[in-house]
């Protein structure tokens, strides 16, 4: 819900004219942070999966902004002034979210008299793993076992735990532990409380369902991989990975990697790498010490 639900966000900004006090990249960053309507985003391609060269109507939504301050008061440019253009999958997808009573949306920048801003934004589909601007939600509250019956946690207190730890807002939903109730060490958490707050792109319930959907796809993929791949354990996954231990000689690392617990001096035991002809482990590489007598024996 935090990282992998696809949403829309402005990804590319082509600035044509910028005489504002803010730097280009700073405005671009602000634009990226604007929440865009992501309902129906599943019908949009990821840009990387699309056939087009850079972007097209099937993988992006184009928004343009052109504002010039002609009055003698400072002008506010807000999300409302972003105008979607081009063919779109739906009329709402990619629209800036405007939820304030004045219908202005988030403030992008302010213009002094005479200043002008003209730019074109390309909004793309993406997930928050890549960049936080694609996050559909601000924070997800998560809690279980409000009375700490399972003792997963040691609540630290100085004098009185009751006084120092205020009850959770879900405490009323569960039975408080009875006086002298024996600790049930077999119990497992079975009730989880979520608190979802949306950033605006999707309604909270959609975030939940989308989240479940993403989870399902992930699990399904895993099940598929596990059942399909005999011998080719990592089948579908072709990203970088660490070499497997003891995976036989034919894993591309050439000539059987050692298991990792032998020394390069081979032949184990207490023999040194120096041929080990001497007595015990106390021989020097020179076989004998320079002070007469056989190595080690004269000491």
């Amino acid at each position: 819900m935090l990282a992998e639900i696809p949403t829309m966000a402005i990804d590319l900004v082509q600035i044509e004219d910028n005489s504002t006090v803010l730097a280009d990249e700073f405005i671009a960053h602000r634009l990226g942070m604007l929440p865009l309507n992501a309902e129906g985003v599943e019908n949009l391609f990821y840009s990387r999966d699309c056939d087009c060269d850079e972007y097209c109507d099937r993988c992006s939504v184009i928004l343009s902004l052109h504002a010039k301050c002609t009055g003698d008061e400072n002008m506010h440019v807000s999300a409302r002034d972003l105008v979607p253009s081009g063919e779109r999958i739906s009329q709402t997808l990619g629209n800036p979210i405007i939820s304030d009573p004045d219908g202005l949306g988030p403030l992008i920048l302010k213009l002094r008299p005479g200043q002008e801003i003209k730019l074109k934004c390309i909004a793309k589909k993406g997930i928050a793993k890549e960049h936080a601007k694609w996050a559909p939600s601000a924070a997800i509250g998560f809690e279980y076992d409000p009375h700490n019956k399972l003792h997963h946690l040691d609540l630290w207190y100085e004098q009185d735990a009751k006084k120092e730890w205020p009850p959770s807002e879900y405490a009323d939903w569960e039975e408080p532990p009875q006086e002298g109730e024996p600790f049930d060490y077999d119990a497992v958490p079975n009730r989880f409380y979520f608190n979802v707050e949306t950033a605006g792109a999707l309604p909270p319930d959609a975030i939940i369902t989308e989240g479940i959907k993403v989870l399902q796809i992930k699990l399904a993929q895993m099940v598929k991989d596990l059942s399909e791949g005999d011998g080719d354990g990592n089948g579908a996954y072709d990203g970088p990975r660490s070499p497997e231990f003891g995976g036989g000689g034919a894993d591309g690392w050439g000539g059987g990697q050692d298991p990792g617990f032998t020394t390069p001096y081979g032949n184990g035991g207490n023999q040194s790498a120096w041929g080990g002809a001497g007595a015990g482990g106390g021989t020097t590489p020179y076989g004998t010490t320079p002070y007469g007598g056989a190595g080690g024996s004269s000491w």
Partner: protein
Amino acid sequence: MAPARTDTKWDHSYNVTRRQKLFQNPPTDRTAYPALQLAVDPHIEAFNALFPRDGKPGLIDHALEEIGTKTYFDGDERAPVAGRNKLTIRYKSVTLQKSQVPPNNKFAKNREIFPAECRERHVSYRGKLSAVMEYQINNDDPKEFVRELGQLPIMVKSNRCHLENNSPALLVSRKEESEELGGYFIVNGIEKIIRLLLMNRRNFPLAIIRPSFTGRGPAYTPYGIIVRSVRPDETSQTNVLHYLNDGNVTFRFSWRKNEYLVPVMMILKALVETNDREIFEALVGPPGSKAVDNTYLTDRVELLLRTYKTYGLYTRSQTRSFLGQKFRVVLGVPETMSDYEVGTEFLRKIVLVHLGCVNVTEEQDADKSKLLIFMCRKLYSLVAGDCAVDNPDAVQNQEVLLGGFLYGQILKERLDELLSVGLRMALRDYFRRNLSVTFTSATFAKDFPIAIFRRTNENIANMLEYFLSTGNLVSQTGLDLQQVSGFTVVAEKLNFLRFISHFRMIHRGSFFAQLKTTTVRKLLPESWGFLCPVHTPDGSPCGLLNHMAHKCKIMTKGVDASAVPEVTYALGVADASTAPSGDDVVVMLDGKLIGWCAPEQCRSVAENLRYLKVEGGHGVPVQLEIGYVPASRGGSYPGLYMFSQASRMVRPVKYLPLGKEDFVGPLEQPYMSIACVESDIIPGDSTHIEFDPTNMLSILANMTPFSDFNQSPRNMYQCQMGKQTMGTPATALRHRTDNKMYRIQTGQTPIVRAPLHNTYGFDNFPNGMNAIVAVISYTGYDMDDAMIINKSAHERGFGHGTIYKTKKVSLKDDSNRSRSAKSIEKMFGFAPNSTIKASVQEQLDADGLPFVGRLVREGDVLCAWHTVGADYHGQLINRDGITHFEKYKEAEDAFVEEVRVIGSDTGTEPLQTISIKLRIPRSPVIGDKFSSRHGQKGVCSQKWPAVDMPFTESGMQPDVIINPHAFPSRMTIGMFVESLAGKAGALHGVAQDCTPFKFSEENTAADYFGHQLLKAGYNYHGNEPMYSGITGEEFAVDIYIGAVYYQRLRHMVNDKYQARTTGPVVPTTGQPIKGRKKGGGIRVGEMERDALLAHGTAFLLQDRLLNCSDYSKSWICRTCGSFLAVQPTVSPFIGKKKAVSTVRCRNCAKRLDEIEDLDLMKLEGEIWEDGQGAQLVGGENTTQVVVPGVLKFLDAELMAMGVKLKYKVDTKDTIHRGPLKPTAVRPSKISAAFSAA
């Protein structure tokens, strides 16, 4: 009714709308942050004192009086004076104008030059300095003329600056900050300040024991009395009394960097008409008093009087004539002066000048004599052990040398020099060329001011500009200072905190920086309330570079204390004309002895005076310092020392009997009882109470939240780091062209702040961000002061910063000043008819300058220029058709922010200089440094994805994770409290007051903020249960999490990383050069080598020290073992092109022409030839070895010293390994033989 005046009261809350209004509509009446201006005022007022406008004489006027009249004679210099014409000349006045466009500029409509323009144009902000001089030939009528002395740098916001008393609104319209402070100079576009220096307290005889005094001569002892005597023009002359073994006292002074010693008796007798009896009684006491029985004193005074008899000088005129005769050459006085007059001049210029240095009256001479006798008494008392040494390192005995005063001193010396040395040289030169001319001739009258002054170095202002830009003092006299360099520093606008602390810093003097002892650096209790105990850097300047406590002021003017002597007499002090009786103590005002008083009475006099001064209206100014030193056994020399003059530090405290504000100085403070807080008041003892205990801290130290909870060094570190933070340096960024400027893009106001944060208007210059900080050991990437940043927080802008760099491109050759400004050799733009690559044309505009907003990469062109020359019509044309380009050389990508086209002063030159401001975005990367406000710095080690960050039950994720191990040893409890307060403040939407010393054991901070947290539904102690972001499991313990203000420090990896495989090397050794900029290596030094050895990583060692360094293959002779005797053979048949074929050893070879009975058939080996064509044979036993390049260098160096190195490389030379060959004597026998011996 007029609109309400801008409110200047501030509390600790956010005041968002109020600040917004102030920012959008800067007030037109006064600033809302007067405290800021107060912090800088000493600098400005000191400058204003030079040329005041209130009609009173300024420091320069006093200086001109002291310079006096110079006299010259014409004709032969060796001839007697009689019969030669006399010219006397003096300064009437010196004036400084405001900055203006020079008159030869015909274009400028607005003739004023504002500081902002100077900054942008990289020039100095200065005004015309001119002098009115008056001269008289023989006894004719005096004539006046005016000379211009150049353009003198002006202090911003001083009374010669256009910005003086400007309202914030006006300042903004003049392209300044709304809260522009001034107090600095602009030299070549750089803001420079003269830093404050600690000096010995003026006009106060200090008792000193210094072992180096014994080096003055035989019989000299370490005992001395030093008085730094200050003239009304703020120049000073130090007088020292030395005690000699036999009881004698010598007077020492230095004049033009030479030291002179005079018996003190001679000075005493020269000052006033006196006799031995008077002197004896003045030194010892009236006959019949107790002191006469003090044989220790009487013996010495007797000896003093007796030894002086050898000079045979009895009267005042005799003595003065004698002094005059001796010092005539030293003082450089005109020949017409009699010896007596020279003696008088000597006393005027050198002896206790604070009591009179211009037209000295008899009365003033008597004052000088009285003070000298007092000094002798103190010296004898010191030697006898009756009084303690005064510590010159304690603030008690110090005052501050203000930049403006120093500036005036230099100006005075330059003015003096122009009239004495400069004019003398010019006149001598003039008469040498015009032999027949005299002062009275008409030619001279025609030439005198203009032609002759033109030959002097009259551009005095230029020398002051040099002083400001380098900080070096070029002076004949040394100005009674202990250093010659380091007077000025750049007021760096790295962030606002750093900028403001420049004005509050006080340096002890660079002389003390070299001292091995640490005594000068110690924090002494005397400095309480004057110097901040926290705000001093660690490292070499520790304790030498201090900062003023934020309420400490420096007096820039003397206060009117003319009525004080009368008041003291009314309180029972005996007039100074009477002799002291018994153990009476002295009453002094500004180093002038005004009376005597019994010790027991002295206390009540001091107390009464203080009451009168705080009450006001009795002629006793409130800033008067009443240093009552009680009589004690072996303590400081008792007396009542009052000071009213400038340069003193004072600070406000509350006077309890009246409940009013009193100002106390450092000399009186140790003898007073000032309670810190209400509970400290001791009835019957405490007279004062601090207004606030935080008054003892500097501005910066006050910004550390809850600093009373921290271990003290951490607060010191924070004062350092606060100054290194990437913050907001200025709001008028558009009009600044600093070489390098750091700016944070997403600054916030701290939730936890002191009320002073608002008072000083720091919200106009945010310095960091509020971050949610979890104290948890997570992932291991937070070990060792590393910190993990939430990747999403980073992507949302946490800590995003920018660097602005300004690059000036000037086509004028600065090194070649002699050529006139008219010689234009280069111009911007593409050369006409030259072909320009399309790739370059894309980067530049048609005028050859870059586009604003363009991205520049390494190697991109910044601008284009071409050479020009004048054709027959004087038109500048290009002849070669070649376009040259200025390239961007740095590796980092930047954007062109601004391009400034800079014209010349006259407005007639074509474009010669541009300045390009580049913007380099610096988003935080791994390796960048951050810190909280508690000296807890850390390096970002990972940008951890938000999904994998731990989260609380409400879904909160930390922005920053730090390791709990950062706390136990550092004990920065203040950071915990800040976290707690920040969390509560964020939850309730309030700003939290973090002033130190507000909580106590009964009323703890933890309880105060704990209750707030509990009310918001959080744990009392700020802990929360958290879940692992990776497994989703609940942590077994609850985690301390809260909001802490984080600063991003300017140290960034992008400026520091260094990597090298191969690259430039030092030619002599073949080893890599050093320096990151040049692509050099990092030294693997001895200790690193030791570490590698200890690890047994021999291969790595070889790789670092040889292969990646000065690996070289070298030829060596196996027979003689020399690198240097080998040489390549030269084949006589093949050209030089051929590579080295064979290498032979010249040492082992024999020249054919030196072999007797040469028989070619019998020679062994080939014949080879060297470069000179000599034929040799032999030396074939050479081979190639790998050695470090320096080894050969060492070999060559040693050879130059006649040392030969021989390397054994042959197999037969190998060290024998294996059983030793049996020797004749068995080892046991040898040891036996030794033990027998």
